[in-house]
Symmetry: C2
Subunit: 253 residues, 2 copies
DNA sequence: CACCTCGTCTCGCTGAGCGATACGCTGGAC
DNA sequence: GTCCAGCGTATCGCTCAGCGAGACGAGGTG
């Protein structure tokens, strides 16, 4: 029962197939799925067809696609968590006040998963996508989450390899640690083109009742024009307000 | 291989377990899952534990919960579809202009599935939830989608049972057909407390290149105050603009 | 105490799932 | 045109993953 990376059970094979889809590909042919999963062709064929019947996959003329049932399940998963629904109004307010790109992200392992993204029509150069991932050390949200996290997680990330994503990515553990300390002090973290060239952002944590970070909000914009510090106040207000609502929700048993 | 309604395969059992979760329950104990699925206790126990390992379920002290992996998959499913990402900016614009509740919905069978919902802090009495469903005949989005749909679908819904959800729900096929004809004519559908008492809305279709409806947008508000006709222009503009963007996207092979 | 319900675990039986193999189709190379 | 590669699909015995009756301990209730 150990967490074996091999595909022993039917379910693990099925999820391997589902996980083989990335955010970018619209439709994936059978052969490609075989390649990505390493499963036998007949197996993929059989399971994929069954998944189509269960609405977890869609059959398209030129391949498969993640299905509508998955979307429903995913939204139900997020609804049960409640975070997204409660957060949206605050994110909208923040967007309306700043008219810059607003992100909501949570931690998942040592990555950040984006839960919501609000931006106008001009959000050309942001690689982030809702449901997508980013390493913690190179994003504002990741850094502020890490700063408020426990020592073990901080140590794990700092000791792990800090991938360089742009020339500005902070890959020196010492420098990163200093930034984290500063973020813990001030309650906000900045990012200057560390995940994407041309993109700057500020992030603030949404803290739970015990002071543990449950999510983080960020405001981002293009580097020449965007002044992150001008949005700190509005950002902090939104984050703490959301934290308050979450705490109140959890208080009702 | 006949479409047996019973749970023959492992996968169908696993999805039965996942589907046993509703939007409202935060956590479900094992015994309750056994009851809802009708599966053997040992089976649910085994599968649920495996699903936890695959991050499709989360283990909580007092039961199971839909897991974070499902959310990621769901968002990827929606990203591949592309609709949500392209639509969001238009929905935000619409919200900013009206400051009323904005919905984006698509058809799924004879139901409407809500893909996005934007509303401020005061959205108390809307039962709709992102990822949730509603019958077509009693919602603005549903009616406008049905009006622009093919004859077979229209016939199916009109001949099927029209569930009465409120005293104002249109349950007479003839009356509904007239409303659909009007909606097809004018390009918008109205709903007056037909799904929820106290809720009024207007909806407009997002049409694909071939004139087929791919989604619909609605603006909703509380019945005493909300004047649906004042938002028709902005709504129509948003819907057609979104349709144009979608068409342009699909044009690029 | 007896009597629930709930979660967990064991253990043989068996059929669901496996993958080697094969077939028909399409499209590009030549 | 022929050849071939890669695709999706279908077949069919073998076997082990998955099944479910049942047992067990923990909590809760009368």
């Amino acid at each position: 029962m150990s967490a074996s990376p091999d595909h022993a059970t039917v379910l693990s094979k099925a999820t391997a197939i589902l996980d083989a889809f990335t955010v970018d590909d619209r439709t994936v042919p059978l052969a490609e799925l075989v390649r990505r999963t390493g499963l036998h062709k007949a197996t993929v064929h059989r399971l994929a067809n069954e998944l189509v019947g269960l609405r977890l996959l869609d059959r398209e003329p030129d391949g498969y696609r993640l299905g509508g049932g998955l979307f429903e399940l995913g939204m139900r998963a997020s609804a049960e968590r409640g975070l997204l629904e409660l957060a949206m109004p605050f994110l909208q307010d923040l967007y309306e006040r700043t008219h810059e790109i607003v992100h909501l992200g949570v931690r998942e392992g040592t990555d950040v998963v984006y839960v919501a993204k609000i931006g106008g029509h001009r959000q050309a150069r942001t690689p982030s996508r809702v449901g997508g991932r980013m390493p913690m050390h190179c994003t504002g949200i990741g850094k502020v989450l890490l700063a408020h996290a426990g020592d073990d997680l901080r140590r794990e990330v700092l000791s792990g390899p800090l991938v360089r994503r742009t020339p500005h990515t902070v890959v020196a553990p010492g420098a990163l640690r200093r930034q984290l300390d500063a973020a813990l002090e001030t309650g906000v973290a900045f990012e200057y083109e560390e995940s994407t060239v041309g993109l700057v952002c500020v992030a603030a944590p949404v803290l739970g009742p015990g002071g543990e970070p449950v999510a983080a909000i960020s405001v981002a914009g293009p580097s020449p024009r965007f002044r992150p510090d001008t949005h700190v106040a509005a950002l902090r207000a939104a984050a703490t307000a959301l934290g308050g609502v979450l705490a109140r929700r959890d208080a009702r048993s």
